[in-house]
Symmetry: D2
């Protein structure tokens, strides 16, 4: 295989070389200091795949990386395009292999076809990786690439190759799980502050709180990216399921707070990916499960392992839901909400026609509504019921599901509890009217949950969540495709079938 | 890409599952303890690629590894065939992708073809790697596989996939260079004793000598194979090029011998690969070059970096050479050798016809001939000249070159010196009449040497070696294809062109 | 020896035991949980010196430490008095040994006397040290003890024993020098913030600046106090002697500032002791000298090693100096200062009589005077000259010397340069009108400097400092005891000989 | 205190200096290269206590150590005498302090006396310790010193000071317990081979066996002696008390033998001190107890912790016992032994008079008697009974007890079981007719056992051992001082009271 790749690469490269040589740069001074950096980078990349690369690959790779480090943004972009547009499989060989396979689709010919089809670019990237810092440079390359990928589809092959290599290199078997605590080097800790994506860390005092004795933090690391967490998770040791995030984040007067007496639950309250260049390489699933194992071994008193997670898509979904189905709220619920609006406002609104249910709810749920007992009481019932509806809709694989839910349910967790006023920070209110969710990781049911979710879209849920769905309400909201459409009584906007919410990007980056 | 692989795998696996299910093993109890181990292994391998594998890959992989650990040799062989014969790319998808490519050979379609052609087996192997000890298990799998690969070509696809993965995983960028000395854990040191392939280590005393202060030893390690050197090299610090191995190996009365005053040369006198299962994954090249860098930084007084290497193919080649070309020795040389045989022997030989040159030389070079000044003197001239001839023949890429020479010349080293009586141990005499070689690693010429060797087969050599070739001798032996064939004068065996020596397996395992 | 100590201890302890037993606590339940903690601590201390302590010293010590950890402040004080007032040498044995020595003062009898005189308390403290955390507990014990030692002379014997043990335990040979940087665990770094005694660290950003690539930080650690620096020093890599502290402390926009090109000097700008309980155990001397060695080896370009140090006693001394010697300033100097005061002020002052030189200078040197070119110019000459005078007065061993000067001069450093406006922070102005000093550590002259300083009180100084002293001024200030006293011309307060300044406590804590 | 020592030292040293200076060596060139090494060592030692030592103690100490490293044996001896004979407390100060104390024996004066009595030599040794390798050099100094201490009592003060310092420095709180296994550096492992004092390690294979998974090995280390174990213990994990050593030492075919199923007992079968220079500093006691804690935590299945120990003094004691008390054996026992001798031998013996019981037993117990069932049967009863007698004799503190027994009983262990044919190796037969002993460490009774042993000499023993003593035998041997002496019936050699066996040196070095 190595041979065919090399030959393919050589053929192709010879053409490239000669093209460049025609422009007057003789072979010998390829890496000459006078060559403009971008050209030097290109030539070094070619050299890396040539005999020179075989003889002293690590040295050439190091030189290439140094040059890349000096390129301006524009040149870096040009280099990405150079990589993406060249280093393709040899066309003739591939054509021959494809024809051979079609003539006789044997295992051997499939294998030969695979080997011919592998782009020499992968070998080039592997050789770039030989230099010290190579992996970090390639991850950085993909970070920049991803930022513009939508605008530049021509880079897709390069992204595809990088992703293919990273999947192999960052295999679970090569990751090291490390506990992170106050004895961890500051150079790593400051990265937690930078990378935390769910509940921002406000500084070193806040960080210290999250690494106190009643907390745990673990991350995956890879030997080739020393000092760089790939992903990390923050855990609180508590008694019973924690339903609200603010108490967990609050600073403590005690400089070293201990877990509460009789603590039995580990709450995974934040999980953050750190390396944008590794997007799409899955770590979160493994991390949570291994941390569960570690905690069990270390703290035998722990009985429950659960997240305390945001519901980032709820409020957006809810608006559409209410717009389309006036009966989403019962008349009593709607009435209770309407009663909370000041008469003046009601009036001015009345002039503009009847207030839609969605708008009504939005108006009630403004500002710090949750500090007002009347509003809080009026909103609680409908919001909790609709959150349960939102979160238990079957997974059709087409993105109609909350991204955090999809992550945890896809991992085999169970929708355990929906928490009222779980997150009263602006972001929590903004995203989900403050609702938070516990996804429970129960080792005994993880596989079955995952399989049911993947195969038939079924959302595993606790009896309590089930009960929220079954609340007597007339007419009951039917979930799933079999739901009967009923005439809207009040402010409804029509009976069109609800479309799948536009899928938010798979945000593992802020997964819990 | 992940999607297409998964789908392909799924289709294929569904058929496998159902076949097995038909035989009465319902899905649910797949990993049941009552299932025979081989079947359990097969089912777990399938499960690993299924949704179960997605949900709890590490757990399934761990279970599979445990089962594999209990299999008898026959079952292990069967499992290898199971892996090699299944987990192929989905035939329909691949056919479609091949046709699409042929219809329009664009970069996108080449990429799609590559992705379809990747056998799901690679994903399976990657998932097996997720369990603790996974990498070691896969290396062991390939070790067993290679032992029978010639007899069992059906295993080639599995070998090909393993090699593809290992090439990626054991990329230079992921290897850790470690110094090995007397402070290294005994568990690693005993592996040096086991793996040393060039000059056997006789026990702990011998080992201690090789790790003394006037020696250096370095190895490559990989995080996923803790405690296992992949390759290691032994170095002696000396003054001037060392030409004989016995003084380097001799035990010392001094428990901690220091380098000689004014030492200026690092002699790489042994390099051994340790992991048969990683055969074909190149480490030696990188190791030597990085150790040169390390030594330079650590010991600025070092000026020369050279091997002291065996010539394993010389004696075998020499016999054929003499058989085919009676003039390989001058009449004077032949006469001098003949004069050393006892008359009786000569006589009995005479009855059987004239003694061939090859046989004559072999008879003189018997036993401890090198202790006999007359024999030593008579053999020295012709053997040294012919060794130079042997080692400088151009590399045709078809295995006609000494394997150790090919390794170092291919790395860009230069044939620096040929040493008479370099190794008088039985193996040295057996392989090369005691001749040893210094290959010099000169950073400034490595790339040029490598390129000349790879492109045109030219062997870089010192002036001294060149001079050995130029010795006035009539008729001069022509090297290479243009060599004139001359009538044999004495005991020649005919004029057939010399065939390439049957290539010994590329023995990096005993490279220096 | 061990025997005699033990016997002595036993005799004494038996009396103690019986006294306590009389009060109704039988031996068996000595460490009973019902016993009040202070009594438990006392009984455990006794048990530790008894056979129980021999059998299971570590266990008893651990128990004792746990009890001590629970004591209230009052009980802890009582326990200190218990330790200090008991565990004395056996009176009869000591008397006998003293008499024997006086009868025949042989080496053997001196040795026997020494052994009898060692208080069993030392053995008790050594046994307390056997428990995990024992050393830390003993250091904490002394910290509390020192806080009240002046009020409670009865504790002196306990302090003496602790200091004796610590001197032995914290011997230089048992200390580990460690570099501290941004890769150091946060748990240690936060202690730098807490312990920094010279130039306060304002938080993590400030700390990060001090650990940047153009800085070095080293500390001594001891195995028995893990995670606790004993002392640390902060160093800046600069070009030429740095004369002002503000530029060194200023934050940098560059997240990783490198040393300036051609840097040749290491400036020790802060050295802080961390453990109050180790007061009087000398580390600073060793630390500076070893850091010099480390830096030399690591950065061969460094040529000079110097402090940038405060002069904490200058301003106080100056006031007295001016009060006592009206001629300390020349008439021109005094006139220049007086000209700077606003007329009104001068007037009101005039009513109260002529302004003393000291008061005049203080009034000119108020607020941010150094931003006013006129004031700055008028003050510079006299202050610099008098600072030189202050710093070069011979050391009489009676505390008349600046404590920081004494520390560095006693270490063998040389008074290299006096810096005008070296520290314009409030503390710098308050202590020394902003003057700072470079003490130079020149390995070649350290011993001679030290010896001259220790034997004859001579202050090693550079030619530049010498020149400042020699400024033509009439009448010239004579240094040393032979100084002639001259009539005061202006505002002088009389000719009494200058008394030694009351010695400030030997503040190594803020040494540089 | 530091002050008074220094002053004392200075006075004394001044005299020394001047003595040497008189001989023509001016102060300035004290450490001159031309000075003979021994004189250089002496002068450097003095310099170390002088101001030079204060200024650059570590440097002077380093120089002194280097010189010491070059001294011949004779010069080293002379240097030891130099140390021992000088550096005494200042006679005048000490006399004054002694008189002051006698006049008023207050705590303050006792403290002052102690401080005056401390020989400056201790400060000198502490300063020698400041250099790298200082501790090792001082331990080596004492090793050599101890070898000749009996012949050279003048060295006692030096030994006393070293021991005093080592006791403080090697306090339990400063020792690090480390597990030693096959992953330990070879440089440490080879020291186990060298230092093992109980059951010789035959080489690396044997060592590997002792570090296998069914074994444990732990040692104490000290930071200042890196790579040097101070003491180590070897442990076997077994089921039930192991009674014989050969099965534990036997090599195993299994390269990694696991503990037996249901293992519940840790057998401490060898404990060896490593540093002769630390003789008398107790480690064994702490080591065993901490290893018990470690094993408990690591292997909760362990229920029993016991030694399998030699009885080095039994055979020697037994001879004397039989010589003095003809009735030590019953007539039946004696008859049974006599019947085993060949008639011829009996006869020749008869001529020489009746064979003594001691001689009879020795003749029967010759060679590999234990392979002969008849001899083995005849010897078992009397030897086991007398071994029990030997081991349970009360401890009078005067060395009449087996040294290994004294070590373990003194640690609070219980004499649990006496094992027949416990060690059939030559040394075992030679020392104790093959008898071995289990001393049980039962945490709950350790303190009481120790106290009873120390206070009243009582040997804690199991019921089984007690029963062996109570065997009906006429006349019964009385244990302890109250034992009645009876007339000898057969071959007795008289009724003199049995003297205490000459105490073997307290051999912790081969304790178990």
């Amino acid at each position: 295989m190595a041979l065919s790749i090399t030959l393919g690469a050589r053929t192709w490269i010879e053409r490239l070389w000669s093209g460049i040589a025609d422009r007057g740069r003789p072979y010998a001074d390829v890496p000459g200091a006078a060559t403009p950096p971008l050209d030097r980078a290109r030539l070094l990349a070619m050299a890396l795949l040539s005999e020179r690369g075989e003889a002293s690959g690590a040295a050439v790779a190091r030189e290439l990386l140094q040059v890349l480090g000096t390129l301006e943004a524009g040149d870096r972009a040009a280099f990405r395009h150079f990589l993406a547009g060249n280093f393709l499989p040899d066309q003739e060989s591939l054509r021959a292999a494809a024809e051979a396979y079609l003539a006789e689709p044997s295992a051997e010919r499939a294998m030969a076809l695979f080997e011919c089809a592998e782009p020499p670019r992968q070998e080039l990237l592997r050789r770039m990786n030989m230099a010290p810092g190579g992996t970090a440079a390639l991850v950085a390359l993909r970070t920049e690439l991803l930022a513009g990928l939508k605008r530049e589809p021509a880079l897709k092959p390069l992204d595809s190759d990088l992703r293919h290599l990273f999947t192999s290199w960052f295999n679970r078997g090569f990751l090291e799980l490390r506990r992170i605590d106050w004895d961890t080097p500051a150079a790593i800790l400051e990265k937690l502050i930078r990378y935390e994506a769910v509940h921002e860390i406000q500084g070193w005092e806040d960080l210290r709180r999250r690494l106190a004795p009643d907390r745990r933090c673990f991350g995956f690391f890879h030997r080739a990216l020393p000092g760089e967490p790939l992903i990390f998770v923050e855990v609180a040791l508590v008694k019973g399921l924690a339903g609200a995030i603010q108490p967990l984040l609050a600073l403590s007067r005690d400089p070293a707070p201990q877990p509460p007496a009789g603590f039995d639950t580990a709450i995974f309250y934040s999980i953050s990916n750190c390396q944008e260049g590794l997007r799409g390489i899955s770590f979160g699933n493994f991390l949570i499960k291994q941390v569960v194992e570690e905690l069990k071994a270390d703290l035998p008193g722990l009985k429950h392992f659960s997240t305390l997670s945001p519901v980032p898509g709820f409020r957006r979904w809810l608006k559409r839901r209410l717009d389309r189905d006036g009966q989403a709220l019962t008349p009593e619920e709607r009435g209770a909400l309407a009663a909370l609006l000041p008469p003046a406002q009601e009036e001015s609104v009345a002039e503009a026609g009847p207030l839609s249910t969605a708008a009504l709810l939005e108006q009630v749920a403004e500002g710090e509504w949750w500090r007002d007992p009347a509003r809080e009481a009026a909103l609680r019932g409908p919001l909790m019921r609709l959150a349960a509806e939102y979160l238990t809709r079957p997974n059709t694989g087409m993105g109609n599901i909350d991204p955090v839910a999809r992550f945890h349910l896809g991992n085999g967790a169970r929708l355990e509890r929906i928490n009222w006023l779980g997150n009263t920070a602006p972001r929590g209110l903004e995203e989900s009217h403050g609702v938070m969710v516990n996804y429970l990781y129960d080792p005994d049911s993880i596989e079955a949950n995952h399989e049911a979710f993947t195969r038939s879209g079924t959302v595993a849920r606790s009896a309590a969540v089930e009960a929220m769905l079954a609340q007597p309400r007339l007419p009951a909201p039917a979930t799933g495709g079999a739901r009967a459409r009923l005439p809207r009584l009040l402010g409804g906007s029509g009976g069109a079938p609800e479309p799948a919410a536009p899928a938010p990007p798979p945000r593992e980056n802020a997964a819990s």
